[in-house]
């Protein structure tokens, strides 16, 4: 068994997840990074595991491996997520496969992962679940039907967990990032006209770096906010305040 509380970060191989692995490791957590391609976290995570969060067997095996090798899981960061197809599609234009894929990763993933860690958290009387949703879980992004719906679902799933497990000493909160520069979004943000259009709608005038989202996750994971649960922490440069 190792020192330091144990944090599991899904989608920890790149982007917000990678920044979170690094930040939590700096804060003294022992970090396990789960991802389809986790090797990017190898410098920061004590353990990297290939895991498809949409697959129940994969998730059970991964969480068991983490608790066997690193110890009881104190923090789960449900970060793994996808945006869906690059083309903006309204509801009637959205392929059904796209909807299913987006929901599988963005909603079923956090459901399966939370489900796997909660029993031990209940037994210990403590634990933190942090879901990375999006401001799209609060306000609709134009042409992002499946993504918007999935992030609303992820947010409410986490609130449901907050309500059901509060008496058991578990806190569940949500981080709602605005636009963040990551490998998943760089195809859009590297195009000057598209980037300018995005930034014109953000009061601080720029998109976030992954580290700026990891800062919010670290605050929630620290356990200092003992009275906060079921809350969506919006980190969007003022975008949804407009």
């Amino acid at each position: 068994m190792t020192a330091g509380p144990v944090a599991v970060v899904t989608g920890g191989g790149s982007g917000i997840g990678l920044a979170t692995c690094e930040r939590l490791a700096k804060e003294g957590f022992t970090v396990a990074a789960l991802d389809l391609r986790p090797s990017g976290a190898a410098g920061f995570a004590a353990l990297t595991l290939v895991c498809d969060v949409t697959d129940e067997a994969d998730v059970s095996a991964a969480m068991a491996a983490v608790s066997d090798r690193l110890g009881e899981i104190d923090v789960l960061v449900n970060n793994a997520g996808i945006t869906g197809s690059r083309q903006a599609t309204r509801c009637h234009e959205t392929p059904i496969e796209d909807w299913d894929k987006v929901f599988a990763v963005n909603v079923r993933g956090p459901f399966l992962c939370s489900r796997a860690v909660l029993p031990r958290m209940i037994a210990r009387g403590s634990g933190h679940i942090i879901t990375i949703a999006s401001v799209a879980g609060l306000v609709a992004f134009p042409g992002r039907c499946a993504y918007t719906a999935s992030k609303g679902a992820a947010l409410m799933l986490t609130r449901s967990i907050a309500v059901d497990y509060a008496a058991a000493g578990i806190r569940a909160n949500v981080v709602c990032p605005g636009m963040v520069y990551t490998p998943m979004t760089s195809w859009r943000l590297d195009q000057p006209e598209l980037r300018a259009e995005v930034e014109s709608r953000i009061p601080v005038g720029r998109v976030a770096t992954p580290d700026e989202i990891a800062d919010a996750v670290a605050l929630l994971a620290s356990g200092r906010l003992t009275y906060m649960t079921g809350h969506p922490l919006v980190v969007d440069g003022g975008m949804s305040a407009l």
Partner: protein, 257 residues
């Protein structure tokens, strides 16, 4: 059907993310049926379903390019499904970290297994089909790291140098058989593969690592996956009919200074 690859069958390795994914989508948009090979099955399937959702013909194959048996089986499956192979983009690759002093042996072996041997095994399997069909185009993934030294990147630089040399060798062997072989040397592109290296360069600060890296690029920015995909399309299509054994740098001027 219109498009520069209309009616052709293209195989892209490592197409579950990054440059490979962008290229697979571009090839499909230009009329090719695209087979996606990736180590990670869900990533391959997701990339394939995005292409299929946009109306393209596609096949996802999970395979480890370092394993000859898996490679041969994958290419047999692809030939069986589509009947032919016209284009192969050997994009699958891994990074390394460490100078010659502190790089590990595992790091070296892994770089060479995926970057060099993977290219060799996939090319061998594809070339057989291409030669039998009378022609084809193989595009390999080099790097600016094959051309200039980059700090703390020993195994990666060496393995990409091997890919460039292999490209020249393949081009000589296959030219009489109608198969062209060329290599792209991209500069830094912001993909999941590159992210840890960029972060480490900034001593943990990604923004700082990005800024330090961008400073080496006269064009003032890093490349995008689509910009490399565009070069791959040129080399895959008849637009490059007189090019074989060529080394095409796509690096925003990085190796020109």
């Amino acid at each position: 059907m219109t498009g520069k690859l209309a009616g052709r069958v293209a195989v892209v390795t490592g197409a579950g993310s990054g440059i490979g994914q962008a290229t697979a989508a571009l090839f499909a948009g230009e009329g090719a049926a695209v087979a996606i090979i990736d180590l990670v099955a869900p990533a391959a399937e997701q990339a394939a379903s995005q292409i299929a959702g946009a109306g393209g013909r596609t096949l996802a194959v999970a395979a480890d390019v370092t394993d000859a048996g898996q490679v041969d089986q994958a290419f047999q499956q692809i030939s069986g499904e589509f009947g032919r192979i016209d284009v192969l983009y050997n994009n699958a690759g891994v990074n390394s970290s460490g100078s010659v002093i502190d790089a590990t042996e595992e790091d070296w072996d892994r770089c060479f297994a995926v970057n060099a041997k993977g290219t060799f095994l996939c090319s061998r399997a594809a070339a057989r089909s291409m030669v039998a069909a009378g022609g084809g185009s193989i595009v390999n993934q080099g790097s600016v790291a094959a051309l200039v030294g980059i700090a703390n990147f020993a195994s990666y630089c060496a393995s990409k140098g091997a890919v460039v040399a292999l490209t020249r060798s393949m081009s000589v062997d296959l030219a009489p058989r109608g198969v062209r072989v060329n290599v792209i040397c991209p500069g830094t592109v912001y993909t999941p593969l590159m992210e840890p290296m960029l972060r480490a360069r900034g001593h943990g600060d990604l923004a700082a690592g990005l800024a330090l890296t961008t400073a080496k690029y006269p064009i003032g920015r890093l490349g995008t996956p689509d910009e490399i995909a565009a070069v791959a399309l040129f080399l895959a299509s008849d637009d490059s009919s007189f090019l074989t054994g060529s080394v095409i740098t796509a690096d925003g001027g990085m190796t020109s200074q």
